[in-house]
């Protein structure tokens, strides 16, 4: 604290050579309408949005692909492997997503557990190893395990994406101590994913030094998704600025804001 009064210099967020101006990544799931989704995407200022791969319903051609609803030239597409319970399923989903020709980025999710949707560390490592060899840009979704994060970045993944709390729970940054350790040891961007419920959560993640946040449910399930998208984007930016500025230490006692001497007296 005494040692330095110099704020950090901001460096743009770069993932595998691609610079992103917004540090908020947005999911496209769970919106009530496509109009609400598009309004939220626009209000968020996000440049990277996640999508999922699912089978066509060949008996109902009226169900359009999501990509007809959004301006996919405006956003970088990050397909995920949601639904994959094993490394093999995640690898196959990633390959199919890439074959569509839109993106070779992949959010790796290997999730055997349907209740808490927690990722499998071993399956995630296996999937990432294969996908890295096949040339994907790999963004793994992981439990907030610092050693696992280190193994992944050492293997070559292009980010690590530790969870803050269970997907869609809005519980906030439950794992903040572990995330702080991951950030301390990070050699690739750390994206806090899952569980962010409000701007204060996003700001806290960024104050810890995270490089970006990925949010979906908190926006989609707000009464006003566009307004909430804007709010969370501001929270992300506020937290990042605070990280750069350097926050005050937490003190056990009070410390007066007004001078202690020279107080006026009463007769």
């Amino acid at each position: 604290m005494d040692a330095s009064t110099t704020a950090l210099v901001d460096r743009p967020l770069t993932i595998n050579g691609v610079t992103l101006n917004s540090r908020l990544f947005l999911g496209t799931g769970k919106y009530r309408t496509n109009e609400e989704m598009n309004a939220a995407l626009c209000a968020s200022g996000s440049e990277l949005i996640t999508v999922a791969l699912r089978r066509l319903d060949l008996d109902d051609p009226s169900k359009k692909t999501l990509l007809d609803h959004i301006d996919w030239k405006k956003y970088r597409i990050l397909p995920n492997t949601a639904g994959a319970k094993t490394a093999q399923e995640a690898i196959q989903t990633a390959r199919m997503a890439r074959a569509m020709g839109l993106s070779d980025w992949i959010k790796v999710e290997v999730i055997p557990d349907p209740k808490y949707l927690l990722p499998d560390p071993v399956g995630t490592l296996e999937a990432c190893e294969v996908l890295l060899k096949e040339g994907f840009t790999v963004l793994p979704y992981i439990n907030a395990d610092p050693i696992l994060a280190k193994r992944l970045q050492d293997m070559g993944t292009h980010t690590v994406m530790p969870l803050a709390s269970p997907i869609g729970s809005g519980q906030g940054i439950v794992t903040w101590r572990q995330i702080a350790i991951i950030i301390e040891n990070a050699t690739v961007p750390v994206v806090v994913d899952a569980g962010i419920g409000a701007p204060s959560d996003a700001a806290l993640a960024m104050e810890l030094g995270a490089d970006a946040c990925l949010v979906n449910t908190a926006v989609a399930r707000s009464n006003n998704p566009a307004m909430m998208a804007k709010a969370i984007a501001m929270g992300v930016e506020a937290g990042h600025l605070a990280y750069l500025a350097g926050r005050m230490p937490v003190l056990p006692y009070a410390s007066a804001s007004s001078p202690i001497e020279g107080v006026v007296t009463v007769k």
């Binding site: 999922a52 569509m100 990925l214």
Partner: protein, 65 residues
Amino acid sequence: MTITVNDKQYTTEETSIEGFLRERGFEPRLIVVEVNGEIIRREQWDTVTLTEGDVLQMAHMVAGG
């Protein structure tokens, strides 16, 4: 000819991926196709001839987080 797509059987006379998709009412874009376990990139669809008993998987992008 009967083929299996996404675990359901369809009878069709279309032997091209694009033809089958159009027959079902789909624009042949932003869709990924797997034929007998092999992913077929869009630019290679024309090289594939569907035959009796083929097993296909067809997928697209949906909203997700």
